[in-house]
Symmetry: D2
Subunit: 368 residues, 4 copies
C-alpha cells in the first residue's frame, strides 16, 4: 500500500450509545459496528465510526473494535478493509470553527494552504470480502488490538510539535512586525514555547527509541512514554497557543476583514492605521495575525487544540494507562529498602530490578 | 448619564504607529488622536482608537490620551466627549472567529443571545464643543489619567468570572449529558475550574474592598490587587476553557451542522448515532457542545480568551505595575532583620511598616 | 481573654486510628478524645490531639471534636477549656528539619529570632470543670462546629502571605548581593513571587469582606473563598520557595558552617572566596542565604511549606468543600439558557439567581 | 580509569568574584583558578572551585575553565588532572539541611544508607605535571569546552528520575500505610508524579538518542534536548516533592524523634497514638515519613531539589541555550509561507529544511 501511495484510515471510534453497557446489551445494536449477516464471500457490517480525521481523503478504511469485547460480543469483533467509496457508506462532514471563512478570501483564512477535516462514517450493510477480513469473532484479542493501536497512535501525536514549530515561527514573526522582538519578556516567551514544544518532540522520540521488538518483527513503542507524550499534547499546545496570542496582540481578534482591506475607501484607512514597523506591509502584518487566529481559534485550532486533547484518547485515558505501568510495587520496595523497612518479597524485587534496569540500559530490543 | 441609561465608551487605545517614538515625533501625526484646529466653540480632533469594545452599541464616546505625554505633545493631551454618530467618525468593524456562523442558525451559533464586538474608530476632523472638553493641553496629567483609568479597568476584568460560571455550568451539563458526571476525574476538573474562577472573583473583590478614598470623594481600587486580578485573567480563562473542552469530548469539533441535523435523511442518522444518555435529546447535547465551542473557539472566545489577555493592558503591562508596587525595599528590610543583618535605615522602615500594616488593617479609607 | 493577653489553642485534630471506623467503633477508644467519667464538678477526658502548633506557648487549650458524630459517639461530643499545665497532660514535642541547628550559632540558624513548633498532646484522665464545658453530648452540632471552625481556620492561612513577603525580601536581597538584581529574568521572578503571594493575600481579604453575620452577631467568612485561599496556600508557597532558591544560587546549600567561618585559618579563605559584590560583607551574604535555607528547607520550611499544605485541612479537604458550594445546578441553568435549552425549573433558578447576585452585590450582611 | 574503578571529578565552577569583570580584570586574581608559575615539569595553579559534588569520594580532579576566555586570560585557560590529595588542596565541607541528623539514629536520618556532599576546593599553588595537562593557554577553545561539558552535564541530570522513582515509591507506601491508597485523588497524584518523572526520563533518553558523532568518534548529546531535560529538572522535582508531602500528611513534620520512640514511657504512647493501619508497625510508618522528609527537606533534598535547580547551570542558563538553538529564522519562514507572505530567502530555507528534517529522521549519526 505504501508503494502505491495509498492512505488507509484506521476507523476505530464507535459512537458507543449508553456507555454503561456492552455492545451486545445496547438497545440499538448499531451503536458499535458489527456483522449483520454473512455470505460465502464475506460479511456485511452496520454501525458508525465517529471523528474520523481525513477519511474523505483516504483510499481505504480498516474498521476495528473500539474496546475490550466478551464472548457475547462476537459479532462486534470484526476487523476488515474496505474502499472509502464502498456501497452503503455515508459520510457526515463535521463543522469546524471558521469553516466558511475559507470562502472569504485567502487572507481571512489565515492558512489558505492546509486544513484538516473530520467526518462521521455511517455503515449501512457494507460488504467486506473474505480476503480483506483480518479478525472475525476472535473477541479475546480485541483488548490487545486496541491497546497496541493506541500505543502507536498516542506516540504519533508527536506530530503536533511540527505544528508548534509553525506557531512559534508565527509568534516570532508577529513580534518582529510589531517591533518588539528584542524585548526580554518577548524573547522569554519564545523560549517557553520552544521548551514546551521540544518536550512533546522529545517524549515522542524517546517512546520510539525505547520500542521493543515483538515476535512478528514489528517494533512496538514504549507504552509508558507514548502515553506521557500524548498526555503532554493534551495540555502544552494550549499554553503555546496562549503565548502566541500574547505576542500577537489584541489586533488579532479585532482587525477588519479582507473585504474591508480591499474596499476602495476603507482600505486606505486600514493601511494607514494598522501599519506596524514602516518597512512591513500592513497586509503582511494582518496575514501573520490571521495565521495565529487560524491556529488558536479557527480551523487549525480544531486539530492543534481540541483534537490534541481528545484524539487517540482523552487525557484520563492516558492517566489510566500511566497508572497501569507505574511499577508501583517495585518503587515501593526501593523506598522501603532505603528507609530501613523490610520489603515484602526479596525475590520479586530482583526480577523487577532487572526489568527496570533493562528498560533503561537494554532498550531497542538489543537484549538477549 | 446613569439615570438616562446611557452607555459611554472610554476610547483610550491609540494605534501608536512607530512605538519607539513620541506622538509628536511620528511621521504621520494621526497615529495618536490629537487636536487639528480650534475655534471659539471647541476643538477638532483626528486620529483613530483601536479595539473599541461595544462602541457600536454605546451612546457617547470619551476620547483620552493613551500614555504619558510631554510638553511637545500638548495637542495630544485632549479629553472630550462626543456622541457616537458625530460627523467625521468612521467605524471599521472587526472580524471575529465564527462571526458569520450567526447567520447559519441558532444551534450552530452556540450562543444565539449574546455576543460582543470590537471596532476601530477613525476620527476625521471631529468636533468637540468646549463644554464637553475635560482636558486640553494639560499633558502633565496624562500619565496619572492613564494609570487611574487602567486601575479601574484592570479590576473590572473580574467580569470574566461571570463568564467562567457559565462555562463551568456548560461543562457540568455536558458531563451530565455524556453520563459521566459521577466520575471522580470529571468532578475534580469542575472543582479546578471553580477554584480558578473564584480566584479571579476574589482578587477583584479584594481590589475594591481595599480601595482608597481620593480628595474628590471617589474611591480608587487597590492598584496592586487590581493588577493581580487582571493578570490572572490573562491566564486562568485559557485553562478553564481547556478543561471545558476536556469535559465536552471531541464531538464538540467534529459534529455536523444544524443544516445536516434538519436534513430529511441525515437528521435521523445524526439523532440515532449522536444520542448520549437516552433521556437527553441529541439536539440538546449538540446545543451545549456548540456553546462550549462558542466560548472557547468561536465568537465569545474572542471576549473570554484573547480580550482577557489584551484588554486593559497585555500581561507584561501588569507585571510592570506589580513590580512598581512591590515595596521591595521594605521587604528587604524585613528579611535582613530576621537574618541578623543591619537594615539600611531604621527610620525609613518604620514609615514603611505603617504603610504596610495600614494597607492590611485600615483599608477602605477608614483610617484618620 | 484577649485583654489578659492569653493565647488559647483550639485543639481539634484527633489521631483517628482506623479511618474507616467511627469513634465508638475503634478497637482503642482513645483514638478520639472522649469523656471517660463524670463527677458532679465536671468530666474527665482521655485521648490525644496531634500536630498542635504553638501549644507549648499557649495558656489554655480548648478541646473540640474533629468530625461529624453520631448518637453512639455522644461521649466524644465534648468541648471544654483547660489550662495547658493541667494534670494528666503529656506533650510530645515534634522533630523539625534542622531543629538542632539552633544550637550551632545564629548564622547557621538562618532565622535566630523566630520559629514555631508542634507537639502531640496526650490526655490521660484530664479534668474539665463544668463551668468550662461548652458542649457535652450534643453530637448533632459536631459537624457544624467543625465546618465553621475550619472556615475561619482556612481563611487564617492568609498569614502565609506575610511570610511570603519576607521570602520575597530575602530573594531580592540575595539578588542584590550577587550583583544581578538588574537582570530582567531576576526582576521577572520577583514579580512572579509577588503575584502569587498577593493572590494568597487577596483571597484572604475577600473571604473576610464577604463574611456574613450570623444570629449571634459574629461574622463568618465566605466559605468558598476561605477554601480557595487555603487551597492556594497548599501550592503557591512551594513555588515561591522554589523561585527564592533559584535567586539564591547553589551556594545556599553548599556553603560551609558558621564554625568554619569563625575558624582562624578557614575563615579567611571563606571570606576571600565567597565574596560577592565587594561592598557586601561575605557574612551578610551567608546570612541571607541561610535565611532562605531556613524558610525553604529548614525549621521555618515546616511552617511555610508542609504546614501550609496540611494545616486546617489537606488539599483534598478544600476541594470537597469547593465542590459543595459550587452552585453547579444554577450554573447549569445559566448555560442551558444561553444554549437555547429549556432549563429544568424556572422558579428554582430565580431563587438561585437572587442568592448568586446577593453574594456579589449585597455582601457583608448588608442585605435585608 | 574506568577499568580501575576510579572516580574523576570535573571541577569547573570558579567562585567568580565580581561578575561584571573578566578573570584577568579581577582585583584578586584567585577568583578563577589560574597558573601561578611554570617549571620544566609542569605548572602550579591557585584559586577555588565551588560546589564540587562528591569531590571527597573521588580519586582525581580535572580542573577546567568555567567560561569563555580572551587573549588576556591565557593563564586561566588551564585544564589538568590532579589526585584529590595533592599538596596544597584544602576542602571546605558544606553544611546541609539536617546534616547532623545522621548522628541521631537511623530512623531520624530518613535514609541512613545514602547521601551526597559538596565542598569548596581551594588550590594554593598546586602542581600539575606536564603529562596531565590537557589545555594550557588555548583560550580560544574555552567556550567550546564549557559548552560541550555542559551539554553532557545537563543531559546527565536525567539521574533525578531515578531519585523521583524512589520518592514516588515512598509516597505510594505512605498512602498505603495511611489506608488511603484506593482514594481516587491519591491515585491521581501518583499518576501526576509519574507523568512528571517520566518526562525527565524521556527527555534525557531523547537527548542521547539524538546524539551526533564528532570527528573524534565520541558522541555529543543533542544540545537542545539536553537543555530541555535539565530545565525540567529545575522545576518538576519540586512539584513531585510537593505531591509527596501531600500524600505523607502533616505528621511528616510533627512526629517525635527516634529518642522519644525508644523512651521507656513515651515510646508506648507514640506507638499507641501514631498507629495507622493496624497491620503496619508504627515505626515503619515513621520510617517512610522520615524518608520523605529527608528527600524534600533534609539532606537528600539538597541533591533532589536545590542542586537540581543549580547544578550544571541555573535555569536561566538553559533558557539562553534553548534560545540559541531555536532555529527561529527557519520557523518564521515556515509561518510566512503558510500565511501567504513571501519568505525572505528561498535558498536559505531549503538548507534549513534539510537540517530540520535531518535532526528528526537521520538522528544517531547514521547520515554519511
Amino acid at each position: 500500500m505504501q508503494s502505491r501511495g495509498c492512505v488507509i484510515g484506521g476507523a476505530m471510534t464507535d459512537v458507543k450509545g449508553d456507555r454503561s453497557k456492552a455492545p451486545h446489551q445496547q438497545t440499538d445494536p448499531d451503536m458499535f459496528v458489527h456483522v449483520t449477516r454473512r455470505t460465502d464471500d464475506g460479511v456485511y457490517v452496520s454501525g458508525a465510526k465517529a471523528h474520523q480525521t481525513g477519511c474523505l481523503n483516504s483510499h481505504w478504511l480498516i474498521v476495528m473494535p473500539t474496546m475490550r469485547l466478551g464472548e457475547a460480543d462476537k459479532d462486534y469483533a470484526i476487523v476488515g478493509a474496505l474502499p472509502v467509496d464502498a456501497d452503503g457508506i455515508t459520510y457526515i462532514y463535521g463543522r469546524q470553527s471558521c469553516d466558511t471563512r475559507s470562502m472569504d478570501g485567502d487572507l481571512d483564512a489565515g492558512n489558505a494552504k492546509f486544513a484538516g477535516q473530520e467526518a462521521m462514517i455511517v455503515f449501512d450493510d457494507v460488504f467486506i470480502p473474505n480476503e480483506l477480513i483480518f479478525m472475525d469473532g476472535e473477541h479475546e484479542f480485541a483488548a490487545m488490538l486496541v491497546e497496541r493501536f493506541t500505543c502507536y497512535h498516542r506516540r504519533s501525536y508527536v506530530c503536533k510539535s511540527g505544528v508548534g514549530d509553525v506557531l512559534i515561527g508565527a509568534a516570532a514573526t508577529v513580534a518582529d512586525y510589531n517591533g518588539v522582538d528584542k524585548a526580554s519578556h518577548i524573547r522569554d516567551k519564545l523560549v517557553e514555547m520552544t521548551h514546551l514544544n521540544e518536550t512533546i518532540y522529545s517524549t515522542g522520540i524517546a517512546a520510539s527509541y525505547q520500542a521493543e521488538e515483538m515476535k512478528s518483527g514489528v517494533y512496538l513503542c514504549d507504552d509508558m512514554i507514548a502515553n506521557v507524550c500524548k498526555h503532554h499534547v493534551t495540555k502544552l499546545p494550549y499554553e503555546i497557543g496562549r503565548l502566541a496570542q500574547d505576542l500577537a496582540g489584541g489586533l488579532m481578534v479585532t482587525m477588519p476583514s479582507q473585504k474591508e482591506l480591499e474596499h476602495p475607501e476603507l482600505g486606505d484607512l486600514i493601511k494607514k492605521y494598522l501599519q506596524g514597523r514602516p518597512e512591513i506591509a500592513t497586509e503582511d502584518r494582518m496575514r501573520i495575525m490571521r495565521l495565529i487566529e487560524n491556529m488558536t481559534l479557527g480551523r487549525n485550532a480544531v486539530g492543534y487544540l481540541t483534537e490534541s486533547m481528545h484524539g487517540a484518547g482523552s487525557p484520563q485515558a492516558q492517566r489510566i494507562q500511566i497508572a497501569r505501568q507505574a511499577q508501583l510495587g517495585f518503587k515501593k520496595a526501593l523506598a522501603k529498602t532505603l528507609a530501613g523497612i523490610a520489603p515484602d518479597t526479596a525475590d520479586e524485587i530482583a526480577g523487577d530490578l532487572a526489568d527496570y534496569m533493562g528498560r533503561v540500559f537494554q532498550a531497542s530490543g538489543e537484549s538477549e
